[in-house]
């Protein structure tokens, strides 16, 4: 709404009950989202707290062996965390530069006609279900890596990370491009008037001016990589492995949750509660990243819009 055009809401003299009922029903719809958040927090943290009554938080966070389903049980979450971090690192190395490069091209170089073709294509890439990316990683990228003599195992972090990186490109590109689009034309014109080249305008004017939006897109990409389940479940493996070698199989946090949740572990058992302890850890990690990302987007919107 533009400033000064605050709509004049005239109130009827007689209260209309129908109007109040409508407003109440709409507010109830909005309440669903609030209840959902409460539900997530209760569902995750109540069993997670019970879990930490049986397993100490220190053992959980510093233990190097994760074997909750076998005797003797071990509840050290580190192997799952390193698995998640390693695959996220590979995905970021691929997705961030390529996503940013795509965004700069779309925003600064492509003609509006080219953009009209390229952006829907990126949307198609964004619409590919993750189970399909998982299939592609396992049946195409992994054999390719092995043929190239990389020495990758059948299940490996590298292949999952590479494919996840491509999956991140549309997310990062579209959010970064929005931020670059919000940079005023006058900034670019000023730089051109001073004799800048297109390269200089893109890298020294547009990217710095849009930096909060670009960082927001990176953080959101990280959050998506950490929370991604199907690619790691299918292509990275389901054996916890404390390693920093991406050619080996390992298990990510999400993969553990899915593999355990799909099985029939009895409700209330310590095995069942591990799902929630790992889930709560994952939720907190991604929540922090999402809030940071939302804040950064607001920042550039406040400056330019």
């Amino acid at each position: 709404m533009t400033a000064g055009a605050e709509p004049l809401r005239l109130r009827a003299e007689r209260r209309r009950i129908g109007e109040d009922v409508v407003k109440g029903v709409l507010a109830l719809c909005a309440l669903v989202s609030v209840l959902t958040t409460v539900g997530i927090v209760v569902a995750l943290f109540q069993p997670a707290i019970e879990f930490f009554r049986e397993v100490s938080l220190v053992d959980f966070l510093t233990g190097t062996e994760w074997a909750p389903l076998f005797e003797p049980q071990h509840f050290g979450v580190l192997p799952l965390i390193t698995g998640t971090l390693l695959v996220t690192a590979v995905a970021s190395l691929v997705g961030m530069p390529l996503g940013l490069g795509s965004a700069i091209y779309l925003s600064e170089y492509a003609s509006s006609r080219a953009r009209g073709v390229l952006k829907p294509l990126l949307e198609i890439l964004a619409g590919v279900p993750t189970v399909v990316f998982g299939y592609f990683a396992l049946t195409f990228v992994t054999p390719l890596l092995r043929d190239l003599g990389v020495g990758a195992e059948i299940f490996n972090t590298l292949s999952a990370g590479l494919v996840m990186g491509v999956m991140l490109i549309p997310t990062i590109a579209s959010l970064s491009e929005d931020a670059m689009g919000a940079v005023p034309r006058t900034l670019r014109d000023g730089a051109y008037a001073l004799g800048s080249t297109k390269l200089q305008v893109a890298t020294r004017i547009v990217v710095p001016a849009a930096i909060s939006g670009i960082v927001a897109s990176f953080v959101l990409g990280l959050s998506r990589a950490v929370g991604e389940t199907m690619i790691v479940l299918i292509a990275m493996g389901q054996q916890p492995n404390l390693t920093f070698d991406p050619r080996e199989a390992a298990e990510a946090m999400t993969a553990f949750i899915a593999a355990t949740g799909a099985g029939d572990v009895p409700t209330g058992s310590i095995e069942y509660k591990t799902i929630f302890a790992v889930g709560a850890t994952l939720f907190v990690l991604t929540l922090v990243m999402n809030v940071v990302s939302i804040r950064l987007v607001r920042k550039y919107q406040e400056v330019y819009e």
Partner: protein, 280 residues
Amino acid sequence: MSSRALKGGLFQAGLLFSLAVGFVTLGVLLADVLIDGVGYLDGTMLTEPPSIDPQIAGARPAILATIYLGALLLLFTVPIGVGTAIYLEEYANRERWYNRLLELNIQNLAAVPSIIWGILGLAFLVRGIGLGRVLLAGALILTLLVLPTVIIAAREAIRSVPDSIRQGAYALGATQWQVVSRQVLPAAIPGIATGSILALSRALGETAPLIMIGAVTYIAFDPTILGPFTALPIQIYQWVSLPQPEFKLLAAGAILILLAILLTMNALAIWLRNRYRRTW
């Protein structure tokens, strides 16, 4: 060539390369799935249940379940999502802290990892209220998962209706609900439809939450709303996980069907957006 021009040319080539990686991967992926799966894409796939013999195995229960899930999702998400969007755009007072919190809450929910929704479904629906591993539980959890996306899309559509239209209707003595239901909503319908279809297609491709709820078991009969179920993404995951190479090809066949459904929905959404694009 001057060094400035050379640098500029190299930079542009680098940018084009970035963009090309995404598109080439998409192309290779589609070609790979097509080559692997086309041999298994026949009548058997559509009419037969899964089997331990890949030659006679099909995905009929999974395809039907995915269609049921889509119908239920449409039924649940659109009214609640549009209702929330109308509340936030037309009724809520932005000065109030609870309305700002509601907005932030919805933005956060939109980025919650899908496996977390699966945990919610497992804890509350499957075990908590004892609904069991049934199709309705899957539909409800997918509803909550896409609701934030539908709300955000519907809000944008409602916001793009210019205020002068509301003012005009008020000037003629319309009540607030008359303005919303007879002026704002009809004008916003194309945008809402586009956003909802895109959100729906995303939800139907989700696997992780359904794995937690639907259980990866062998389902040989047509699904019912209150019965155990499988869905196309779960069926694909199940076949990919089997060691025999024939099942990987079968998975590729099922992927082709899933992609056909989702891409059709995407195309419909993009067509709607272009067909009814309006500048005020």
